[in-house]
């Protein structure tokens, strides 16, 4: 902690209390850190950790019922908590700027970029004669090609990356002393992410702005930030120089966070599993001591009573009494189960032969113009029994369309679809039905995939109700449900609950269980872990590996996340704009990519190795058209 006159933002012992129906709960507890001019602080944590609450705290836009009950917060020497609200609002957009998470919806859809910029510059006091030039100047500085044209456009005419650049331009237009960026690139494509991130870093260097970068990605923070603060359930559990926190994490949670994401390179190690999940606000009242204790592998009785702060040997501030003892941690890591390979080389369980999918739209006064969009160009794929295959690509690459072709949700414009050797392209309903019994799908959004009015038991065994099957009585159904429940690792009392009472990870398990019920030969999994917290993601990934080994099911995994694909799949296909640019055994493709696009995708992932620069240098030179 540096009680430095150069400090832009400093928090000392700040506690934010929430009033929940009469009960007082500390949403943020005893925060201490200081941010100097020109430095970047990464605030890392999963959802519910309190990182956005921290941003609310700084901006002064707290929800009703939340108050700061202790501590001091200073911004360039001024006590933020003491000054009146109006003065605090004056700081926003001027000395304190924000960059939001979802750029496409962050701009008024009925205003042109020029209108929005105009409003902002007016607020900053730029005289009307200079506004146009100022706007153009800032748009150029964020590497937007044709800034003059950009000004005349509406937000829906811009891409996500372009919108974010506009927002960054507006943020820096006031030369703020402090910039708070809340997951600024999470909603963007992986390649755009690297470009925007490097541009943001460039701006930060130029203006010497202090930045608080909020993210869920520990590796990203380690590469881009100077210091990192790890948050868990409202506590600041570890704080130190960014590189060090990633290399030698001291707090058990930080360690779990680091190892819960599979590596893209190096040995494949088993993802350690953290049971349960982060406590929500209402559960915090019952956790007076360390809030991580219920999940911590090395917790003792003292941990639950009081939170301990230590300074670890490497200079990190850690909120853990056991921090100092656990130095070497590699011993705990085992090698992971290998990704399943085909059990039978002969007959594929599912096959696409030169299948293509084209969407047609009609335009013109009477709909006479027909434009085609090739979602999937002629494409061949064979999935053998028991193997895990991955398809990676960004949005718009066609990977989801491939899944839909296999499932029979879409009919191919050309080519054929074969399930278990039988041609089901444009097949009869009976053929289609039989095929569907062999191939099941796990949907991405568990919220939308589970009927909120059905109990877990009925959801798991839904396949038993299908037409054409002999009726199953209640006892038999129960037995099946119990078997599935233990297969997917759901707690014993889950059967009678409803989806709204389950956590995200539990919902996804129900999803998987439902797919298993029909004993399919192939499961298609479309981005099934991308909505989950990293620690929960690890649970699901391990579960899939076990299921693959036990039941010898084939899995087709669609994902944009290369590390997940590397962990699960023995074979991978890389797709771009409807075609496969590269395919082969996973290890080979990822360690030795041949196609430049594959290389770009791999480079876009921040690695564990501190020596490999991220964002990649080349990204900074690309201009956004």
């Amino acid at each position: 902690m540096m009680p430095n006159s150069e400090s832009v933002l400093s928090l000392q012992g700040v506690t934010l209390t929430a009033n929940l129906g009469g009960q007082s709960v500390s949403a943020l507890r005893d925060l201490n850190f200081s941010l100097a001019r020109g430095r970047v602080l990464g605030v890392v944590g999963e959802s519910g950790a309190g990182k956005s609450m921290l941003a609310r705290l700084i901006s002064g836009l707290l929800p009703p019922g939340f108050d700061v009950t202790s501590g001091a917060m200073r911004f360039v020497g001024r006590d933020l908590l003491a000054i009146p609200t109006r003065q605090r609002r004056e700081l926003l957009g001027r000395q304190i700027a924000f960059i939001p998470q979802e750029p496409l919806t962050a701009l008024n859809p009925l205003w042109t970029i020029a209108d929005t910029f105009n409003e902002h510059l007016t607020r900053l006091g730029v005289p009307s004669s200079q506004r146009l030039d100022t706007a153009l100047r800032f748009l150029e500085s964020v590497q937007l090609a044709t800034p003059a044209q950009m000004l005349r456009r509406y937000p829906h005419q811009l891409s996500g990356g372009q919108c974010q650049r506009v927002l960054i331009a507006m943020a820096f237009a006031s030369e703020p002393a402090l910039l708070i960026a809340d997951e600024p690139t999470t909603a963007l494509d992986v390649v755009t992410q690297t470009r925007v991130m490097s541009m943001l870093a460039e701006q930060q260097r130029q203006h010497a702005t202090a930045v608080v970068l909020i993210t869920h990605d520990l590796r990203l923070a380690a590469h881009v930030c100077d210091d990192v603060a790890v948050m868990y359930a409202g506590d600041l559990v570890e704080y130190g120089p960014a590189r060090d926190v990633l290399d030698t994490p001291r707090h058990p949670y930080t360690r779990a966070l680091k190892y819960a994401t599979p590596d893209l390179t190096g040995p494949r190690r088993r993802l350690p599993v953290l049971k349960q999940q982060m406590p929500g606000l209402s559960a915090l009242a019952d956790l007076p001591g360390c809030r991580f204790a219920p999940r911590c592998p090395s917790a003792d009785a003292a941990c639950s009573h009081a939170l301990q702060h230590r300074v670890a040997p490497n200079g990190h501030r850690v909120s853990c009494s056991a921090a100092c003892e656990h130095g070497a941690d590699t011993a705990e890591l085992q090698a992971a189960l290998p990704p399943p390979t085909p059990v039978d080389d002969a007959s594929p369980v599912a096959e696409l032969r030169e299948a293509s999918l084209t969407y047609y739209t009609r335009s013109g006064l009477f709909g006479q113009h027909k434009t085609g969009f090739d979602a999937v160009k002629p494409f061949s794929l064979k999935v053998y029994p028991g193997e895990f295959v991955g398809i990676v690509g960004e949005s718009g690459s066609g990977k989801t369309s491939v899944a839909r072709l296999l499932m029979g949700i879409e009919q191919p414009t050309e080519g054929r679809v074969l399930i278990a050797g039988a041609d089901v392209t444009h097949g009869t309903p009976k053929q289609v039905r039989r095929a569907r019994e062999q191939v099941q799908i796990i949907f991405q959004d568990p919220q939308s995939a589970l009927n909120p009015r059905r109990s877990v038991e009925r959801l798991l065994t839904q396949a038993l109700e299908a037409a054409g099957l002999p009726a199953v009585d209640a006892a038999e159904r129960r037995k099946r449900a119990l078997a599935l429940q233990s297969d997917v690792g759901l707690p014993a009392d889950c059967l009678t609950r409803f989806p709204t009472q389950l956590s995200g990870g539990q919902k996804q398990r129900v999803n998987i269980g439902r797919a298993l019920c029909a004993a399919p030969a192939l499961i298609v999994a479309d981005e099934i872990v991308s909505g989950l917290d990293v620690s929960v993601q690890a649970q699901i990934l391990n579960l899939l590996l076990e299921l693959g080994r036990e039941h010898q099911i084939a899995l087709l995994l669609i994902s944009h996340d290369l590390s997940v694909v590397r962990y699960l799949c023995s074979r991978v296909l890389v797709m771009r704009r409807g075609e496969v640019v590269e395919q082969g055994p996973t290890e080979e493709v990822f360690s030795n990519p041949k196609h430049p696009y594959t290389r770009t995708l791999i480079e876009a992932v921040p690695s564990d190795d501190a020596r490999i620069a991220w964002p990649p240098v080349a990204a900074g030179e690309a201009r956004a058209a």
Binding site: S47, S52, S59, P64, G396, I409, S448, R453, A466
Partner: protein, 313 residues
């Protein structure tokens, strides 16, 4: 097509959602005041509707006189608490000496009968078509939507009048005419909801499990649309009462020997200068009953579907 922005956890409390105060994983507690007063709507509305229903059911026992009884000695007498009033006629009499209170009570029978039956008819018919249209899509949806759009190109009152002209006078025809006009409103609103549910992955999952269309519509779609249908039913009752009053005001609804609020208003209007109360009481009756239906509808909407808690549409 899956795109990155939809791959975020639904509950990631971003800064943007923070500044709006929207609920996130760290959800702020719903304001107590809001919750309490929204359920007030429900109870108040239910109480009013129940009260009117009781009046209608027990009218023969509650009414002090026969509603058609003319007492020529007491024409246009004011309510009992005003000068010249008589306790035998608590709310006064109309221009033919008929007791206003008794007529109000018997009028509620017509009002509620029309309300319940017409709303039910319009609701069932409209919702059925809506579910079929929303589920199947394609030409079925286009055909039904075209029909709805066509039907809604009439101002409702004009259509009711035209139908009444061709069907003839009478309560059954009033009900039929309301059903034929208002089914479109049910259809349009419920269809929108059905289309939202239709997009849910669990419907797709059920289809992939080879369930029959009928089963999916009954098991997956109908329960999801039911809260909205119940809300609309309540609101439709209010509309039906208004339309009946309107039609009986013009004289197209009930025959002369039946008591309806609209008829009372038409009669009282002529003698408005002498007796304002004769006009005000049936007006109040209609307003309060419709108010009850509206409050009940609003309260049900909130109670049955927590998603809509902050909206008032």
């Amino acid at each position: 097509m899956v795109d990155k922005s939809s791959s975020l956890p639904a509950s990631l409390p971003t800064l943007s959602s923070a500044a709006t105060g929207a609920a996130g994983a760290l959800a702020r507690p719903a304001p107590k005041r809001g919750r309490r007063l929204r359920s007030l709507n429900l109870w108040l509305g239910a109480a009013i509707v129940l009260g009117v229903a009781l009046c209608a059911i027990f009218a023969p026992w509650l009414a002090p006189h026969d509603p058609l009884d003319q007492d020529l000695l007491h024409m246009l007498s004011p309510p009992a608490w005003m000068a010249g009033g008589d306790i035998a006629f608590p709310l006064g009499t109309d221009s033919l000496g008929r007791d206003v209170l008794s007529r109000l009570l018997y009028g509620s029978r017509i009002a509620l009968t029309v309300a319940v039956v017409a709303a039910l008819g319009a609701g069932v018919f409209g919702s059925l078509l809506a579910i079929v249209a929303g589920y199947f899509g394609g030409w079925v949806d286009r055909a039904i939507s075209y029909l709805v759009d066509l039907w809604m190109s009439f101002p409702p009152v004009v259509l009711s009048l035209v139908l009444m002209v061709s069907l003839g006078v009478g309560i059954e025809n009033v009900i039929l005419s309301i059903v034929l006009v208002d089914w479109t409103r049910f259809c349009r609103v419920v269809r929108a909801e059905v289309m939202v549910v239709r997009q849910r992955d669990y419907v797709l999952a059920a289809q992939l499990m080879n369930f029959s269309h009928l089963r999916i519509m009954l098991r997956e779609i109908l329960p999801a649309a039911l809260p909205l249908m119940i809300t609309l039913f309540s609101l439709e009752m209010g509309v039906a009462i208004t339309v009946e009053a309107l039609l009986s005001f013009i004289g197209l609804s009930v025959p002369a020997n039946v008591t309806a609020w609209g008829v009372m208003i038409a009669d009282a209007r002529i003698s408005m200068h002498e007796s304002m109360s004769g006009l005000l009481f049936p007006v109040l009756a209609i307003v309060i009953t419709v108010l009850g239906c509206n409050l009940l509808g609003d309260g049900l909407r909130v109670a049955l579907d927590p998603r809509m808690r902050t909206k008032g549409n």
